[in-house]
Point group: C2
Chain length 236, copies 2
Amino acid sequence: MRDRQDRPGVAARRPLLELVLPVLRDAIINRTLPPGERLSEGDICARLGISRTPLREALRILEIEGLVTMAAGVGAMVTPISPPDLHDRFELLAGLEAIAAARVAGRRDPATIRQILAIQRDMESASRQGSQEDYYRANDRFHQTIVEAAGNEVVLNAHRTAMWHVYRIRHATNAATPLKPDAARHHEHIIAAVIAGDVDGAFVAMRRHLEDVSDLILGRLAAGWFDAIDRDAPPP
Amino acid sequence: MRDRQDRPGVAARRPLLELVLPVLRDAIINRTLPPGERLSEGDICARLGISRTPLREALRILEIEGLVTMAAGVGAMVTPISPPDLHDRFELLAGLEAIAAARVAGRRDPATIRQILAIQRDMESASRQGSQEDYYRANDRFHQTIVEAAGNEVVLNAHRTAMWHVYRIRHATNAATPLKPDAARHHEHIIAAVIAGDVDGAFVAMRRHLEDVSDLILGRLAAGWFDAIDRDAPPP
DNA sequence: CTCCACAATATCGTATACGAAATAAAGGGC
DNA sequence: GCCCTTTATTTCGTATACGATATTGTGGAG
């Protein structure tokens, strides 16, 4: 056997599933396909120009990820926003990031620590300047960096999936959220534990931090009940 | 093309996917379909009496679960045993059960605590009598009970999936594993923290316990490298 | 004897077709 | 006028067909 799929010029034949899945997923996350939206297979096939076979595989995967809900014989819909479900997903997230933090603390890799410290400085800088956008971006990087640095592919995948659900309600969380000094203090604890190689300390600190974040976001979601009536007729 | 579901008495209108998926999954877990086995769609369809459409959906799901590996244009195979991958899954498991333990500790539900204490007594009893079988069964119940008592559907699902991978190498772990008194002591720490409502304590104790279990099982797997050569030709 | 090229075969990816069930709609009974 | 029943239409679940690609087997050259 010679060149398998690395033939020059000709792009390796990619299954339509891999092309369609990100498109649908992104549409659900950015609410182009809003929560509760009914997903007619025929419609989407026509829209995307594919047949039902690869589409159904994509829907099955999205169902496992929790972004789509399928009822046998009835069809698929974008999973509605559910605060209890989100609470569970935040709890999972806490476990995942805590494990990652523990692993990072166990390693004490200098490059990783430098990276985290730099992000921390960015957050402080953004906080001083009151730049919400930069602050949230750096915050995201903080968590993402730790999970990636843990080097656990399985945890990373689970984390990515959980985050999709967070992204879907982000519009209700970032908008007008005051910069909480708590987050910065929590991050300091986590960083201190990581630098000290305190595995349990990092593990616990990360869980507590995520618990706080969860309470904050879910509280905000409940206060605004943004999504609960998304598909209902708005009052005059 | 054969008799579909027109026979009375058989489950009336369930999607074939839901029927086929557990069959394949069980076969993979109990090694009827051994690691590395190539999964020809035609063969399995003929064997199960279904067409390729529902089978492919099942294979996609199994791929997400990590039990099947699919290469585009090549086909599917039972995911080979990989100690590094198992290590990652154990780490995930530690995060999941730690979160569950923390939640259970936060609740301090009397019924749950009674249940856990009863299981603990069973384990001690089995240990004294040297009944390995009973010991492992009670140990399983200990962990399962905590995860279920946490009441987090998302964590429970992730835990179930992770455990499938553990079950698949169980033959290499339970066989001739001496009863470790460490496990009992660890369990005591976890239980004490749960009863005391010590959320962080339960969280940390469970992670440490799982880390130990992981080391034990992976060490045993490495020592025997049971699966690494499963599909290779034995030397003459 | 080994290795490479080429043909034959098997298998995959996708599209399409058809029967069955659920939802929507229309009509009649109360 | 309202509700229940019955019919019609849409949509799903599964099977099958077809083109494309990887794998395997065979023959010949070095």
